[in-house]
Symmetry: C2
Subunit: 205 residues, 2 copies
């Protein structure tokens, strides 16, 4: 296996498989097939087998996949067999929602800090966090060694804050602002946007 050679598009599907497997595991299901997994995630069984086989032989012809084993393997591949500390920048509606989101547990991430530049928000309590001032952000993120951030500031501020995050050593940014961010090659950005999800569904209506 050569990590550099796996297309990003395959990497992007692994978390979808993992989420479906985790939900099956929660229901006490112990084994699955590429067919069953495919039905749950809307991807063909052949594609799933092909994707997973990029990383090794994790299933058996006829008996399928042991869910806990496949989950462990996927976690290892995605490097979420550890816990990544995450900074949230922007304590607006989305920042609030993230700070309270229950879906991070057991999935490789924990929010450790929330920043905002609005002095009326700094010091405010959100869930378990006290909002910190963005002016201390670069130093705090550096000191804590945080590599992952979620960016929930308004579009007009997003690039400036991104530049600060990069300076602080952040290497992965989940961007909620509806603009493109310019980042160096060693920094990953993912956009999340309700509209792209909606557009994918109207095709079928």
């Amino acid at each position: 296996m050569n990590a550099d050679k796996i297309p990003d598009i395959i990497i992007g599907r692994l978390p979808i498989y993992l989420r479906a497997l985790q939900r099956m595991a929660e229901k006490g299901i112990q084994t699955t097939s590429s067919q069953e997994l495919g039905d749950r995630v809307g991807i063909s069984a052949a594609q799933i087998r092909k994707d997973i086989s990029q990383f090794g032989e994790f299933g058996k012809q006829g008996t399928g996949y042991r869910i806990s084993f496949l989950m462990d393997k996927l976690r290892e591949i995605l490097k979420i067999d550890r816990i990544w500390d995450v900074a949230v920048v922007g304590a607006g509606d989305v920042g609030h929602a993230l700070a309270r989101y229950q879906g991070f547990v057991d999935r490789g991430f924990r929010i450790v800090t929330v920043f905002d530049n609005d002095q009326s928000k700094v010091g405010q309590q959100i869930g378990d966090f006290v909002v910190k001032d963005t002016s201390d952000m670069i130093e705090e993120i550096q000191k804590a060694g945080i590599k992952v951030a979620m960016l929930t500031v308004p579009a007009a501020a997003a690039q400036e804050v991104t530049d600060m995050l990069i300076k602080a050593g952040v290497k992965a940014i989940l961007n909620y602002a509806p603009i493109n961010l310019n980042v160096p090659e060693d920094v990953r950005v993912q956009h999340t946007d309700p509209v792209t999800h909606l557009q994918r569904m109207t095709y079928y209506l």
Copy 2:
């Protein structure tokens, strides 16, 4: 072109292409190549050409794609050459964020109503909306002919609300709750979840 035969995985990439094209258009760029588009979205040029060619010949060898033309074609394919009315169910943090989100404009959707079952929220103003009571939801959605909903209620309530939405005639649900929804075959569900985005990035760290 036979709509039924295009894999969902390709349909899922079209909104990503469209978003990138829209941003290029906003900058005044008029033409692009599969290579340039690919660099922006992190998908290979060959894959982009293959995806787009499923629907017809929209570019020219050597000169690439006219952005406005390709955007029109993608909008037509995705059926967002019209405006879909959307109901938001759940007036919590995410519901607030969606009701105020500026990213819907010109992209095929508009939120027309926000519901919650919490009587302390019913009647509240969020952006341009007054939160309505979920007990009137089925009737209101039916009357308005709304086919698209965004579900931002807690996980424990998500299936019950989904059943109501289906009864009301909704055919596409964007689900923010961290659970699987059971829906009939003619209803589409998309999950949106910050963790799957984060997991896709840590692979590279």
